[in-house]
C-alpha cells in the first residue's frame, strides 16, 4: 500500500482513537500516551511539540507500528494497524510508512545510494529499479554527488537528507520524523527545514515530532503535548504577516 494507491476522496491518512501507552504497573505506572485522539489528512503536515518525556516520540512510534499500544486504535488509510503481526507490520513500514530518526540510523557499511535503496530491495524490487529510484531521490534531496559515499564521509545534515530520501523510497503514505534536526547544527537544520518544506509543497503527508520551533513552523497544524496528552492545538497556516512591521520593530 503506498501513496499512489490511495483513493482520491479518502478520509484521514493517519488516525488514532483513544490511544494509550502505559508502562509498569500499580504505583510505578507510567502513562506515556494518555488517551490521544488524532487525525491527519492527506497532504497535511502536522508538528507535535512538547517537553522531554511528554510522550511525543512514543506517539510517533505507535503511529508507525514500531510499538504496540496498550489500548486504543491506530488506523492508516482505513486499515487498522495496531493489531497486525510483525510480518505485516514490516511490510507496512516498507511501503506505507517512511521513518526519519534523530540519529539518522543509516547502515554504516552501505553507501548513500545503497542506504536509500534499502526499503525498495526489502520490498522485493529488482536491483536495477531500486537503484534507479534511489538515484532519483538523492537528486531530489540534492545529494547526487555523494551517492557513493559512506555515511562516515557525510556531514550530519547530509546524512539526515539521505535518511529522508530513504524514507521516501517506496512512496509512503506518510513520513514520520522523530526530532529530525535534533543532532544537527543550525546550517544543517536549515537544509532539512527547506527539504521538509519542499516535501510539504509536493503534497507529502508528514508528522514531525520536534522541539525546534523553526521546524514546527513549517507545519500546517501544531499540537503541543504534555504528560502524554494534547494540551493545545493551532492552525499555523492561517497566520498572516500583518504584524510583520511590528515584529520587525517598526512602530505601528
Amino acid at each position: 500500500m503506498n501513496a499512489s494507491e490511495l483513493p482520491l476522496r479518502a478520509g484521514p491518512v493517519v488516525c488514532a482513537r483513544g490511544l494509550r501507552m502505559e508502562y509498569g504497573r500499580g504505583p510505578a505506572l507510567v502513562r506515556a500516551v494518555d488517551t490521544v485522539e488524532l487525525e491527519v489528512s492527506a497532504g497535511e503536515t502536522l508538528a507535535v511539540m512538547g517537553p522531554s518525556g511528554c510522550g511525543k516520540s512514543t506517539l510517533l512510534h505507535l503511529l508507525g507500528g514500531l510499538e504496540r499500544p496498550s489500548d486504543g486504535e491506530v488506523w492508516l488509510a482505513r486499515r487498522r494497524i495496531d493489531r497486525l503481526t510483525e510480518n505485516a507490520l514490516a511490510r507496512l513500514r516498507r511501503g506505507a510508512i517512511g521513518f526519519v530518526f534523530q540519529a539518522f540510523h543509516l547502515m554504516d557499511e552501505l553507501t548513500a545510494v545503497e542506504n536509500v535503496e534499502l526499503p525498495a530491495l526489502l520490498a522485493g524490487q529488482s536491483a536495477r529499479s531500486a537503484r534507479r529510484r534511489a538515484t532519483e531521490l538523492l537528486e531530489q534531496v540534492g545529494l547526487s554527488d555523494r551517492a557513493d559515499h559512506l555515511p562516515s564521509a557525510l556531514s550530519g545534515g547530509q546524512r539526515q537528507r539521505v535518511a529522508i530520501a530513504r524514507a521516501l523510497s517506496n512512496e509512503p503514505l506518510v513520513v514520520l520524523a522523530d526530532e529530525p534536526t535534533g543532532n544537527l547544527d543550525s546550517t544543517a537544520t536549515l537544509d532539512v527545514l527547506r527539504l521538509l518544506d519542499s516535501l510539504r509543497s509536493a503534497g507529502q503527508t508528514l508528522v514531525i515530532v520536534t522541539h525546534d520551533a523553526r521546524i514546527a513552523a513549517t507545519a500546517d497544524r501544531l499540537i503541543s503535548m504534555r504528560d502524554g496528552a494534547f494540551v493545545e492545538e493551532t492552525r499555523l497556516t492561517h497566520g498572516t504577516t500583518k504584524r510583520l512591521g511590528e515584529l520587525a520593530g517598526l512602530e505601528g
Partner: protein
C-alpha cells in the same frame, strides 16, 4: 531477487568492515572442522588397515624364526624351521628366507635395518605389496613403507647397507610385521629396525659368514583363528634368561601369530590416537569459546542493525537471515577449508623423520588408497 542481493551485500560489507574479527572467526572454525575431520579420517584409518594389508599381501597366519646362537660359530636351526612346515594344521608355507640385521645409511640418517632375502618370483604367502616401484633384483632393495617414510627415501634413492650401496627399487607394505618402528621381534631385537627386502644372494653378501644368518618362515594354517594356539603349542617353554640375551645353543624356532602382529600394529596408533582426540576436543572447545566471544562481542552492534532493519521494514525472518548470513558464510568457508586440510593426500615420501607414528600410519593409508 533484490532481497537476496541485499542480504549478501549486508553480510559481505559487515565482514569487510571488521576483517580481523572475520579472520579470527574463520581461523577458530577452521581449526575445529580440521580437527574433527582428522579425527574422522583417523577413525577410518585405524579400523582396518591391517586386515586390508593382510588380504593384499596374502599375509601369513604364523611366522616362525630362528637365530644362530650368540656364542660359537654354529648356524641357526634351519631344519627345525623346515619341520614346522609339515606340522599339523599347516596348509602352506613360504621361505625360509634369510634374515640379517645391518646398519643402514640413507639421506644422511642412519638406522638399523632387518634385511630379508627374497626370490624375484612372487611368494605364495607374504608377498609384500608394492606401493612404489618394483620388486627386488640384484643390487636393488625394497623398503617397508613406514620405514621409507621415516627415512625420507623413495624409489631411485641410494641406501647403504653395511657399507654396500643399494638402490631403492621399490616401497612395499607387508602383514608379516607391524609397521616401523613397531617391528615384531623374534627372540632377538637390536632395537627398532626397519624391514628391507633384497635378493637372497645380496643378503648373503651382507653377513661375514653364512652361519650368522637367521631365517624366517611364513606359514598358512587351515584355521587362521587358531594361529595363537598353534604358536603356543610350538613355541619353546620360557626360560629365565634375561630378555635380549642370546642363548648359547641353537634355539628352536620362535613363533608369532598374526593376531599379535595386528595388535602391535594397532598399539602403534592407539595411544597417540587418544592424545590426538583429547587434543582435538580441547581445540574444538577452544574454537567454540572463541566463536562465542567474537559473536557475543558484537551483540550491541547487531542489535542496532536489527532495530534499523526493523524500522525500514525488514520482516523478523529477514532480519535473522541478515544476522546469520555472515556467520554462515564464514562457517561454510571454514568447513570447506577444514575438510580439505583434514584429508590432504600428501605424497607418500615427503615426511620428516621425527613425524609421529600416527601421522605416518595415516599417510600410509592415504598413500595406500591413492596407490590402490
Amino acid at each position: 531477487m533484490g532481497r537476496v542481493q541485499l542480504v549478501c551485500r549486508l553480510a559481505a560489507r559487515d565482514l569487510r568492515r571488521r576483517p580481523a574479527e572475520a579472520a579470527l572467526l574463520l581461523l577458530a572454525m577452521t581449526a575445529a572442522t580440521t580437527t574433527l575431520t582428522l579425527g574422522l579420517v583417523l577413525h577410518g584409518v585405524i579400523s582396518k588397515p591391517y586386515q586390508s594389508t593382510r588380504e593384499a599381501t596374502a599375509g601369513p597366519d604364523v611366522i616362525a624364526g630362528v637365530v644362530p646362537p650368540a656364542v660359537g660359530r654354529r648356524p641357526a636351526d634351519l631344519a627345525g624351521l623346515r619341520a614346522l612346515a609339515a606340522a599339523r594344521g599347516v596348509t602352506g608355507h613360504s621361505g625360509p628366507y634369510p634374515v640379517t640385521w645391518t646398519r643402514l645409511a640413507a639421506n644422511r640418517q642412519s638406522a638399523t635395518a632387518e634385511v630379508q632375502g627374497r626370490d624375484v618370483a612372487p611368494a605364495s604367502i607374504d608377498q609384500p605389496r608394492l606401493t612404489q616401484g618394483n620388486w627386488v633384483r640384484a643390487g636393488g632393495a625394497v623398503v617397508e613403507a613406514a620405514f621409507a617414510e621415516a627415512l625420507g627415501v623413495a624409489v631411485g634413492d641410494e641406501i647403504v647397507l653395511e657399507g654396500r650401496s643399494f638402490q631403492v627399487v621399490g616401497v612395499a607394505i607387508t602383514a608379516a610385521t607391524a609397521p616401523y618402528p613397531e617391528v615384531s621381534c623374534l627372540g632377538f631385537c637390536p632395537g627398532p629396525a626397519g624391514l628391507v627386502w633384497v635378493t637372497r644372494a645380496d643378503t648373503r653378501t651382507l653377513t661375514p659368514r653364512a652361519q650368522s644368518l637367521s631365517y624366517v618362515l611364513n606359514l598358512k594354517l587351515a584355521d587362521p583363528a587358531a594361529a595363537p594356539a598353534f604358536a603356543r603349542t610350538h613355541n619353546p617353554p620360557r626360560d629365565n634368561a634375561p630378555p635380549g640375551t642370546r642363548p648359547a645353543d641353537p634355539e628352536p624356532p620362535l613363533l608369532l601369530a598374526w593376531q599379535d602382529i595386528q595388535a602391535a600394529s594397532a598399539n602403534l596408533v592407539r595411544n597417540q590416537r587418544k592424545a590426538l582426540l583429547t587434543g582435538g576436543w580441547l581445540l574444538v572447545l577452544l574454537a567454540v569459546a572463541s566463536v562465542a566471544v567474537l559473536v557475543g562481542g558484537r551483540m550491541a552492534d547487531q542489535i542496532r542493525r536489527v532495530g534499523l532493519l526493523k524500522a525500514v521494514g525488514g520482516t523478523p525472518s529477514l532480519v535473522a537471515v541478515v544476522l546469520l548470513a555472515e556467520y554462515l558464510a564464514v562457517a561454510l568457508f571454514a568447513a570447506a577449508a577444514g575438510l580439505t586440510l583434514g584429508r590432504l593426500p600428501l605424497p607418500c615420501s615427503s615426511t620428516p623423520v621425527r613425524a609421529s607414528s600416527v601421522a605416518r600410519v595415516f599417510r600410509r593409508s592415504a598413500c595406500r588408497r591413492s596407490a590402490s
